[in-house]
Every structure is written in C-alpha cells, then in structure tokens.
C-alpha cells in the first residue's frame, strides 16, 4: 500500500493526436476565436502544446486546470501578450498574429485578469475608461465618462456609491464586475476571464457567474478560466481540461456531466493514490483516507476512467 509507484497514473496519460471537436459543433457560424494545435515554448520549457480551443458568439468555453496546467500561458496567447510558438490562432476564421494586447483588443478580444484587472489607487471611472478615454479635443470629457460609467455599472446591477472613489476600496467581486462591464461596454466580442472567482467568497462568485451569463446573453463569446468545476459547469457550453501544458479533454456540455468534470479535475487516480498514501500513515490520516475514498467512489472515478473518458467520451459523443 505504501508503494504509490505501482499505481498506474492515468492522469498523466497524454491525449496525443486529439482531433478538435470543431467540424460539427452544431451552433453554426465561424468561431470568434479558435486555436489549432497551439503550443508555447520558453526556451527548453514546453509550457503548452497541441491545444485546441474555440469559442463562438453566445458561448462560454471553460478552461479548467490546476495550478501550473498552462492556463495563464493560454490566456496570454489569446490576449496577444505572447505569440504561440507552434500552431495557428484564428479570429473569425482568419489566422492572426498579435504583437500586442492592443491589437487583440482592436479585434474585440478583451481580457479581464484576476489580479491585475484594475489600478487600485485610481478612481472607478478612470479605471473604467483607462485606455479608451472619451476625448473632447485634447482633453477628456469627464462628466460624460462619469455618467456613462455609473449607468453602465447600474445596467450590470452594480450600484456604486461614488464613481470617484478609488477602485481599491471596492470588494473583489465588485472590481471583477467593473472590469467585465468595462470590456462589455467597449464592444468586446470575446471576453477572457482569468480566474474571476478564485479569490471570491461563495456569494460574490455567484454574482460574477451571473455577469458571465449576462455577457453571453448579450452575444459575447466568453473564455472562462477556472480551477473550479462547480463554477464552470453551470455556465459553460464547452470545457477544455488542461494538465501539465497539455489537453486532457475537450468536451461539449452534452458529453460530460458535472461529476465527470469534477472527477477529471480532481485527478481521480491522483486522489486515489493520495488516499493510499494517507492510509499507510495510519491514525487520523487513515480516517481522512477513508473519507477521500468515499468521495472518489462517489464521483464514480474508482477505476481508471481518465484513460478511457478522454478518448472515448468524445468519440461516443452525445448520441452514445
């Protein structure tokens, strides 16, 4: 029991040679953003390889992965901060090569970063219009901007006391929402949200999820990066799972259940392995191991599902 090396590591199995589920996505129309076999190397380090991702209008594509899975590298590629070292990046059907986030923005791809969405010391309205100031000759039209900011936030259901207050005085959820409504206001077609719920409480996460759905209803494509399947499943139409820089699954909502998603994310086999290790330690740890085993079986991942699911579920598809 104390030889974890014996356990197979299906979670590590790489889904080589995956096809994208692109051709018949059933929603019609050209996807707004599409990555084909995209990869990124930093010198000898392969941060990301062979990633296929797409998002269309009125769709939420969730990118799930643990820390270090390559989520941030993926965002940086889509947002125009980095260029992929291999593969193709298409926006509305045409291959692109962005050299700066500004260019991505001009194509309607806006990114809301988890921690660097806003400049804390600056007033809310200055943050809202940063980089897109409304100008009136050489100067800014400040009264108009304040009013637009207040109205736009109100439309998203955020009733601010005073748009002149430093944005750092808002709560984390409110800040995310200001950043989201800013992107929507400036005509983003695709919204990339980097772990918008990671630092938030349950209630505030709910608020942010609500804005994700609102953004989708307004016709945007949303790429929602998270490590929480419980946040991803209710809002997502498509799920891309990353592990160690590679895709371990690419599903449409009809192809996967919340439990399967959770199991894949938790790394079923890894959990199982951990429970064995804990059992070996005895005492209180063994008790925890039992709890964990129970959870593993509850999620239906006791056997070696990951090896099969990633290749099989997709092949079987919805009409299984």
């Amino acid at each position: 029991m104390s030889t974890p090396q014996d356990t197979p590591q299906p979670g590590r199995h790489r889904a080589d040679g995956q096809d994208t589920a692109t051709a018949g996505n059933g929603r019609g129309g050209v996807p707004l953003v599409k990555l084909i076999d995209a990869g990124k190397r930093y010198g000898a380090v392969i941060a990301l390889h062979d990633i296929n991702l797409e998002v269309g209008a009125r769709e939420v594509t969730c990118v799930l992965g643990d820390n270090g899975a390559g989520k941030s590298t993926l965002i940086k590629i889509i947002a125009g901060l980095h260029q992929p070292s291999s593969g193709t990046y298409e926006v509305e059907g045409t291959p692109v090569s962005f050299s700066s986030p500004r260019e991505a923005l001009e194509r309607g791809i806006a990114t809301v970063y988890q921690d660097l969405a806003v400049v804390a010391l600056m007033p809310v309205w200055r943050n809202f219009f940063l980089g897109n100031e409304v100008r009136k000759g050489p100067r800014m039209d400040i009264p108009a901007m304040k009013k637009m900011c207040k109205d736009e936030l109100l439309a998203m259901g955020i009733d601010l006391r005073d748009v002149e207050q430093p944005i750092g005085t808002l709560s984390g959820g409110e800040r995310q929402c200001v950043a989201i409504s800013r992107a929507v206001h400036f005509g983003a077609k695709v919204l990339i949200l980097d772990e918008p719920t990671a630092a938030l409480g349950v209630k505030q996460s709910g608020v942010v999820l609500k804005y994700i759905i609102q953004a989708r209803e307004r016709g945007l494509g949303v790429i929602f990066i998270t490590h929480n399947p419980h946040h991803a499943y209710p809002v997502g139409d498509r799920f891309l799972l990353l592990n160690r820089g590679a895709s371990i699954g690419n599903y449409e909502k009809s192809q996967v259940t919340r439990e399967e998603l959770t199991g894949l994310m938790a790394g079923g086999a890894e959990l199982e392995q951990l429970s064995h290790e804990l059992e070996g330690a005895g005492g209180a740890a063994a008790e925890a191991a039992h709890e964990m085993e129970a959870e593993v079986s509850e999620l239906g991942i006791t056997s070696h599902p990951t090896t099969t699911t990633e290749s099989d579920t997709r092949v079987r598809g919805p009409g299984e």
Partner: protein
C-alpha cells in the same frame, strides 16, 4: 405571493444615502497635496513670526524665485514619480545642459541659440536613454539613473576641464543672440518695487500645464496607471514603455529649460554644480504628496513642496541663522512631511 416579492424595488434616490455629507475640509484633506498645504502654512507662519524681514513683499519675491528654480524641475520629477520611476540624474543633467550650450556656442563661436538647441537635443537624449534603459532592461530606475548621475557628473567636470582648462564654462555674454536668449530664459521685471523673474512665471505656467495634463487629459490617466499598475495598464492598451520614456524626456526637457535659465542669468556655469539637487526635486515631490511607489501624487503638491523648500532656504537667511543649518532643516522637513502626509492620508482614506 411570489409576485409581490418580485415587485420592483423602489429606484434608488438620486442622492445616494450611503455617501455621508463630506465637509469641504474633509474633501481637501483627501487630496494628495493636503499635507504640503498644511506644512507650507505652518512654515510661513513660523518664519513670519521669527524673521521680520520675511514679511516684506520683496523678500517673498526672492523666496518665490528660489522656489521656481527648484519647482521647475520638481514638476516633471513629480510626474515621473507618479509614473512610477525616479531620476537621480536630474540635478546634474541641468548642469550638463547648460555646459553643453555654453561650451558649444563658445568653442564654435556660433549664435547662442545654436548652443541652446544643441543642449535641448542632448537633454532630450539623456532623458530618452534613461527611459529606454529602464523599460528595456526592467532594472529599477534608481540604479539606471544613479549610473547616469555619476557619468554626467564626471563628464561635466572632466570635459569642462579638458576644453577650457578651468572648472567653469567661459563667459558667453558677448556672443550673438545672448541678449535675446536672456530675454527669453532669464528676464526680470519690477512691478510695484518688487522684482519678479520670468522663471517664477514659467514655473507657475508649467505647474498649471502639468496639472491640466494629469487631471484633464488621457495622458494624465495613463501616467497614473503606469505608475499604479503597469501590467494592468499594458493589458488595457496603454503604451507603458512610451509613457515612461516620455516622462524621462519631460525631465530632460525641464533640465534643459532650467539649465538655460541658469546659464543666461549668470553667463557662466560651474561644472560641479547641481549635485544634490536631484534629492531636492524628489523631496519637493514627496512632500507634495507623491507616493514613492508611484500612481499617486500631484503637480500642485510638488509646487507647494518646492515652495516649502524655498521658504526654509530664504527664511533661515532672514532669521539671521547660520545657513549651515539649512540641510538639517530640509531633512527634518522631509521626515515631518512624510509623517504628516501618511497620517492625513490614513485619516482621509478612513473617512471615505
């Protein structure tokens, strides 16, 4: 039942009840320059009581003059600090610019204006190199400009010595164009028995321009954002590198302007001059409420910081004290201002 619950909530009243009435005083205290204003008033009253000559209008005009010589530079230095960077070479860069103008036009016996233009190019170039190195390497501007500071200081002294065999530049007052340049950079008028130098007017004009840029234009918005959170600014499309290089070049421009003022006022420049002034500019900006970490501050604050400096500089003389005490006072002022600023800012933030 459910329908009653879903009945629309009364629209929020126009005046939000969550904003407490803020007194004008509280609003003032929330501004970055609040501490500097309080300090300036205290110091003015202090010297007003202790040094009778300080009360004359003419001595206040000389306070203003001293203030302007520092305030001119404190303005772009404050903008640079709001933009999140330092320039330790700012003090000697003034001297470099003045030496360049005077040596060039003297050695090549050109019109004084030619030297002035060459010096402008040099000053902007120094600013560009500082800024380019900072954004290109990501090395803190403290180190880059410290290196620039020593290089310029060495060049100032060594080149002047090599070219003129002296420690100062030659007198250029006989050159063509000297008088018109003096009219532009270093004129003075007497109004009602009080001598007013153009540098004071220029200083006030530049402070107004800087304040207008900071608060009313998108450039100002960008300056705050690159200092407050550069990655975030970059992510929304603010050209961070260009902004920073531009700010360093603004410091360069003002170093040129201040250098020209000094040159055409005294006709000659000491090559070792200007060392230590970079700290005065930074002190003025910090006393005026600029955060060392960037993203917060004001040009008016830096102007008031410079005014405090000018009042102490002259007040000590009028009070008949030994001027050797000046630096001690400057240090004490800086410390006091920082403590007061921090205290006021915390109070102001708490009252938001």
């Amino acid at each position: 039942m459910t329908q009653t619950a879903e009945a629309p909530v009364a629209p929020p009243p126009r005046a939000d009840e969550r904003i407490g009435r803020k007194s004008p005083l509280a609003r003032l205290l929330a501004r970055p320059e609040a501490g500097a204003i309080a300090g300036a008033i205290v110091i003015y009253i202090f010297f007003f009581i202790i040094a009778p000559p300080f009360r004359n209008a003419s001595s206040f005009s000389s306070v203003l003059y001293v203030t302007s010589t520092y305030g001119l530079m404190a303005t772009p230095v404050a903008l640079l600090m709001i933009g999140g960077e330092f320039d330790l070479s700012a003090g000697v860069a003034v001297t470099s610019s003045a030496l360049c103008a005077s040596l060039f036009s003297y050695e090549f016996t050109t019109n004084a204006w030619v030297g002035v233009l060459v010096a402008l190019v040099l000053s902007l170039l120094i600013g560009f190199i500082n800024g380019w190195l900072v954004v290109r390497t990501g090395i803190p501007s403290f180190l880059i400009t410290l290196g620039m500071f020593f290089m310029l200081q060495g060049l100032n002294i060594a080149l002047t010595q090599t070219i003129t065999n002296q420690v100062s530049s030659p007198d250029i007052s006989t050159l063509q164009g000297f008088n018109s340049a003096r009219e532009v950079f270093s004129a003075s008028w007497t109004i009602g028995g009080v001598n007013i130098r153009t540098s004071v007017v220029y200083w006030i004009v530049f402070v107004i321009i800087a304040t207008w840029i900071l608060l009313r234009t998108h450039i100002g918005n960008w300056i705050f954002s690159v200092g407050g959170n550069a990655p975030s600014a970059r992510a929304v499309g603010v050209p961070v590198a260009k902004m920073k290089i531009g700010l360093f070049m603004a410091v360069g421009f003002m170093a040129w302007f201040t250098g020209m003022h000094t040159l055409f006022l005294f006709n000659t420049i000491q090559s070792g001059q200007g060392i230590g002034n970079e700290f005065v500019y930074i002190i003025a900006a910090v006393v005026g409420g600029c955060l060392l970490t960037g993203g917060y501050g004001s040009a008016v604050g830096a102007a008031i910081g410079a005014l405090i400096f000018g009042m102490v500089n002259q007040g000590i003389v009028y009070a008949g004290w030994n001027p050797d005490w000046f630096q001690f006072f400057v240090g004490a002022l800086l410390l006091g201002a920082i403590l007061l600023n921090t205290y006021i800012r915390r109070r102001a933030e708490a009252s938001i």
